[in-house]
Symmetry: C2
Subunit: 578 residues, 2 copies
């Protein structure tokens, strides 16, 4: 993916407000949910800097005061009132530099208590308030839970121009998640009809693996179809599981990108809008962002923001099994907080391969993180002794397998509690999908880092790190090359219980992300028996996932707050007799 | 609460369709989410029995085919299609007995993919489809995620009458959860204006502690204000965490109740509607239902339906600490599945009081359930030894406290895995609120039974069981009378860490259920320091609750799927400087 990166910014010397030209700064803030004071300070700081730089207009993301997603904080009257006061404070703080920022405003009429809105203010006065029309209410989005939709459209008169203002989903009317709904409104087109000369979109549009190219295509389509330049300001940063890449930009009416911000960072870009043309006020170099790099940056940001925004020490712990999942997470943990703040535990049992320890040690050396060995054999034996009166006459089964995982989980949590380090969960999406993981064992953790990466993606990202990012063997080749195993009984391999990962991951993606039916998945070429087995495992293991840590979201359908399925239910996809 | 309970049913001998009179059966089904085949069979069975009994009309609850809440199953096209086929099958199966049942229907226009609807069918033909107007989208309800709202109102002509048909929330327009919204529609009033002679409401309205009297008041208000008789059919049973009490009924236009079903059971009642008057076709006795009895029945139903609807064995396990929480849950477990299917573990440590074992044994004897003792001292010592190189020089702290809880949690899960029994979580709402519980320890379990009961309510229910339900000491008086303690360090008491429960529970209820602000809670008479400490604990422990088991919902704001707060957030309720 081609990226324009700002290298140097040259500003014209004078303010040009009142003429036909506008100097516009697009700034992506990394706000914190609920931090009304801090977010307001961020907004006021950006306004002050934009003013010093001689900007005429500063454009900021959606819900910049409350942060996104504020969730049920919005139900608290005292929270809403504090946001309304902050809105007012920002409006009153404006001078020559105008501001267009996202926040919510009170709905005094019937319906929900608020409108999700974009406020334009200038010289201490509110110029306009635009309400969001299309309220996403699918996946992680719950906007109809809180907001009343806009139903009327008007351009905003400002500095002799007609501005078309939209909020996030308003411009995604035909491009995104249309399996859930059919939007009969196209706010951008309505505003163009009303005479808009330029289109603004203030967004909190989350990152997903395929989002950046889709976003660009969507913005270009609007620009070209409506023959209108577009200013797009999107949030950056991570709020619990939801990741934002920023990727704010300005596009000409012909769809060409004239300026972008740096993705995954709080950053801005400045443009001049004159005679209907947008021109960058900065110099740019073009560089490539691979899909792997975007995922890596997103996850590292997710780890770091989880700690920093919670006010937690940058101090992480994780279990190192010698396998690829924990190796990848350890690498990202070291990137996020520095290797000296990351501790690994290797906890071999009698079923562990030699590599479980040696490969973990090799990884830790390559990363520069510390590693401790705590063998669990005597702990396992002690549990077996304690349970022997009750387990007498039973065979070694899943109880003993899970027990090993739970002993390890207990040791990691003891370290976490003792030293105030946060335990990172290292489970991937494939195993979480089919329940190939132990509740209260390897499912432990404050944050799941790769729970939205299928096993094959874990390999791809690991190989990219070695080959392209580090240019050396950081994740041990032995770790990459050995057959995946939970090592909870003698000679166990993942392939004993599960289809090969190329088959499994493809079935899972079709079921979870594409929401295809059992028959459609079978029709795509997979064996019916395999499909039935996988789908049944996915459905049965909802109870495990309900108790899993929050996981960083990378796809349009991650496990967690955006995928809401009943635990007790009987839908199997086989409903032949109705 | 006064209940009419059917003792004997007398039917007129002939069908009276085509005349001015209608024999109406109101039946509350216990459907299973996603069980389209099974639910359809239930509906057809009810239709067949109503027909045999000479009924003219059978009225069933909301979303009777999919079960409620179907959640994201609704996003699957193949699921929707199966429901549409089931709707058709039911319509085609009707003869002289008409049916009014809840299901969803396809929306071919813009907006969401479905309408939540009530279908009236007769003699193999669909008479009418009524769409739901008010779509609850708060707490556990996500109806705007899936459904498009109705915006027009018409009565349905049937058997020479004008019927006003509404669906659940449609009649709660001014009575329930109005902190979230202002509904500007009153569907019942609109239908009366259009000439409705009788009002139907097909519901899936969940149980909560105060719901039954509120529901009656609401129905009576509609009846009296609109001078219209009401037929109310509500779902019964538990679907994961959501409990339904049924409580279906028929009311005269003067608000008097002429017939009710038996709460917490699949049941029906029959009425005759003639010359504008409703008359019961059954004989009734009146009996009392205390709030404690309603809670007890709801929770026992919740346990039983969790197992039965999941297809799990009726086989439960739980830890018995000698405390009140586990004693109460054990009592309900025995009621739900029979004492011989319930196993308790008592797992004393060096910090356990003598009573932790003896009171547990006394309880188990009183209930007739089995109990095993597994001391954890040697396990704890083994963990200490394993961790000693890493913990050297540190003091005994929360790490060691939690370790004991996690050892117990591991033992219970080993039993669960070995014998296929489901672990019941015994945590109450007070401790879950402030995080006075151990993740992966005493927070383990497939289902939380009393996670929506405050500690004081736990005492009240336990006393009621001894005094009124059993009429003898089942929950040991020693358990009830001893000061609550986690027994994780020497001489520990809950009161070392927490305010007294009368204070704590009152603050919690005001914060969580009433959504009052910090200042309002202080204003109600609690000390500012205590309020700040409690609120901070509640906010900080969101990460624990995100990983807690599903808990049976008893209040308007339980922890779980209906309370959605970010883990990473900084709102504290102190926003003095904005």
């Amino acid at each position: 993916m081609l990226r324009l990166v700002c290298t140097n910014t040259i500003y014209p010397e004078h303010s040009i407000i009142g003429t036909s030209a506008l100097k516009i700064r697009i700034e992506q803030l990394n706000t914190i949910v609920g931090d009304i004071n801090g977010n307001t300070k961020q907004v006021l700081g950006a306004l002050s800097r934009a003013s010093e730089a001689g900007m005429d207009l500063l454009v900021l993301p959606e819900l910049a005061i409350s942060g996104y997603p504020p969730m049920d904080l919005l139900e608290r009257a005292v929270f809403r009132d504090a946001v309304y006061r902050a809105n007012e404070k920002i409006i009153q703080s404006t001078g020559n530099t105008a501001i267009l920022f996202g926040s919510f405003v009170s709905n005094e009429g019937p319906g929900r208590r608020m409108f999700n809105a974009a406020l334009l203010a200038h010289n201490g006065k509110l110029i306009s308030t635009t309400h969001k029309t299309l309220l996403p209410t699918y996946d992680i989005f719950d906007e109809f839970r809180y907001f009343e939709p806009n139903r009327s459209f008007d351009v905003v008169e400002f500095a002799g121009h007609k501005l078309g203002i939209t909020i996030c989903e308003d411009i995604w009317n035909t491009e995104n998640e249309i399996i859930y709904h059919v939007y009969d409104q196209n706010p951008a087109a309505r505003l163009k009809e009303k005479g808009a000369e330029i289109l603004f979109n203030v967004s909190a549009s989350p990152f997903s693996k395929g989002k950046a190219p889709l976003r660009l295509k969507m913005l270009q389509k609007h620009a070209r179809e409506l023959q209108i330049p577009i200013i797009y300001a999107n949030q950056v940063g991570a709020n619990t599981e939801v990741l934002f890449d920023g990727d704010s930009m300005a596009l000409q009416a012909d769809g060409s990108v004239v300026a972008t911000t740096e993705m995954f960072e709080a950053s801005f870009t400045d443009v001049l809008w004159k005679d209907g043309q947008l021109k960058s006020l900065s110099e740019y170099v073009v560089r490539d962002f691979s899909i792997e790099e975007r995922i890596y940056k997103a996850l590292v940001m997710g780890i770091r923001d989880y700690l920093d925004k919670s006010g937690l020490k940058r101090n992480l712990i994780l279990g190192l099994s010698g396998g690829i999942d924990s190796a990848l997470v350890a690498t990202m943990a070291c990137e996020a907080v520095g290797a000296r703040n990351v501790t690994g535990l290797t906890m071999p049992s009698e079923f562990s391969s030699e590599g479980s320890v040696t490969d973990s040690q090799k990884l830790a050396r390559a990363l520069g993180m510390s590693i401790h060995e705590v063998p669990i054999k005597s702990l396992f034996n002690e549990f077996s002794t304690a349970l022997s009166p009750l387990f007498e006459g039973t065979e070694f089964n899943v109880a003993e397998e899970n027990l090993q995982s739970r002993i390890r989980g207990g040791l990691l949590m003891a370290m976490s509690n003792k030293f105030g380090s946060i335990l990172l969960n290292t489970g991937n999406k494939s195993e979480l999908a089919v329940g190939y993981c132990t509740l209260y064992g390897d499912m432990n953790g404050g944050l799941s880092v790769i729970s939205d990466l299928y096993k094959q993606e874990v390999y791809a990202l690991s190989n990219w790190l070695n080959d392209s990012y580090f240019g050396r063997e950081v994740i041990p080749y032995d770790t990459i090359n050995k057959p995946p195993s939970a090592e909870l009984r003698p000679d166990q391999k993942d392939s004993d219980s599960l289809p090969d990962y190329d088959v499994l991951d493809d079935i899972l993606k079709r079921y979870i992300e594409d929401q295809l039916s059992r028959d459609e998945i079978v029709g795509s070429g997979h064996g019916a028996e395999t499909v039935d087995r996988v789908l049944k495992l996915v459905d049965l293991n909802e109870y495990k996932r309900r108790q899993s840590p929050p996981g960083l979201r990378l796809s349009a359908k991650a496990f967690g707050i955006g995928r809401r399925l009943p635990i007790v239910q009987r839908w199997t996809g086989h409903e032949a007799d109705v």
